[in-house]
């Protein structure tokens, strides 16, 4: 299985994913990033923190950027509409 790296970008810093995950394909990597974004939002809301300006930058094993998932992608569409985001 290919390895994907989920770096976190935005705000004032970038957090490198040094280890990566073995996942079947890019769709699975996107799904992993979305699931992680939901978990990060849950923790962020509890501490009244806004992580909406951050994103996952998905890189393949050779370091090429192959995808991007915004933290906001993990929020319900209706909520984004109501907040006009």
């Amino acid at each position: 299985m290919p390895r994907f790296f989920l770096h976190i970008d935005g705000g004032t810093q970038r957090i490198e994913d040094e280890e990566g995950s073995e996942l079947p394909d890019l769709a699975a990597a996107n799904e992993e990033a979305l699931g992680a974004a939901r978990q990060l939002w849950a923790a962020a809301i509890l501490r009244q923190q806004d992580i909406g300006s951050r994103r996952f930058v998905i890189a393949s094993g050779d370091g090429n950027v192959v995808g991007m998932i915004e933290m906001n992608d993990a929020l319900p569409r209706t909520l984004l509409d109501r907040l006009k985001i």
């Binding site: 976190i8 040094e18 280890e19 995950s21 699931g35 990060l40 923790a43």
Partner: protein, 232 residues
């Protein structure tokens, strides 16, 4: 030869000599399954080093860590409690060495020597306290605090400051996705408590880490020391 396993060490010299001839020394490599869910437990292990994880299974291959046993404990606790199996899965997550003893023989020795049984029952009580505080941490604490607790618990069970664990493994231990672990490690590193490199976490500021972990850490460790003896 002196034992490094804290339970074996806490036995009286006479009780140590009763067990010693039946103990077989072996390597316990990372990934070795010591107990499989719902299968008869035929051996008991006393780790001298390394770490084993007790996993509550959600289905046939997924679960979450509910307990930790290294040189502080034994693997195969149901046999101490007159049960022959458990729904849990137990495997080595940090390579170490240890002693093993045949299950039937172990039960017989406990029947014949009350002082050995009593010490191991006190360990079961100490372990139960550990798992209840895991429940507390899971319900009340952030991923960062739980990670701090977990690092302290594994630090307690080894001699040096380097903990050889991948983010994937920590994600399983904490029941979160891997990026949550990456961020939590980054936070603890930012505070200067640890240094995380690929597959290796170094504890830098132990006292600060303890303070940060909050109520999840400290009580079970004090109980262990009261009931058994020195943990570190």
């Amino acid at each position: 030869m002196a034992f490094n396993n804290r339970l074996l060490r806490a036995l009286s010299p006479a009780d140590q000599e009763i067990l010693r001839p039946h103990l077989q020394f072996l390597e316990l490599e990372r990934g070795t399954v010591l107990v499989s869910p719902n299968e008869p437990i035929t051996r008991v292990w006393f780790p001298e080093s390394g770490l084993s994880s007790i996993i509550a299974m959600a289905d046939s291959d997924q679960g979450i860590e509910v307990g930790l046993a290294g040189r502080d404990g034994l693997v195969g606790m149901p046999l101490v409690l007159d049960a022959d199996r458990t729904p849990h899965r137990i495997f080595m997550q940090v390579t170490g060495v240890g002693y093993t003893i045949h299950g039937d023989l172990f039960r017989q020795l406990l029947d014949d020597h009350t002082s050995i049984r009593k010490l191991l029952l006190r360990y079961v009580q100490a372990y139960a306290t550990q798992t209840t505080y895991t429940a507390l941490a899971n319900a009340m604490h952030t991923v960062e605090e739980r990670l701090a607790r977990w690092l302290l618990m594994s630090h307690d069970r080894q001699d040096d400051d380097e903990i050889p664990l991948t983010h994937d493994f920590l994600a399983l231990m904490l029941g979160v996705r891997r990026p949550s672990v990456t961020i939590a490690l980054h936070s603890l590193e930012g505070l200067g408590f640890i240094k995380a490199t690929r597959g290796l976490i170094v504890v830098r500021k132990r006292e600060e880490l303890e303070e940060f972990a909050g109520a999840g850490y400290g009580v079970p460790e004090a109980e262990y020391e009261r009931l058994i003896g020195q943990l570190g």
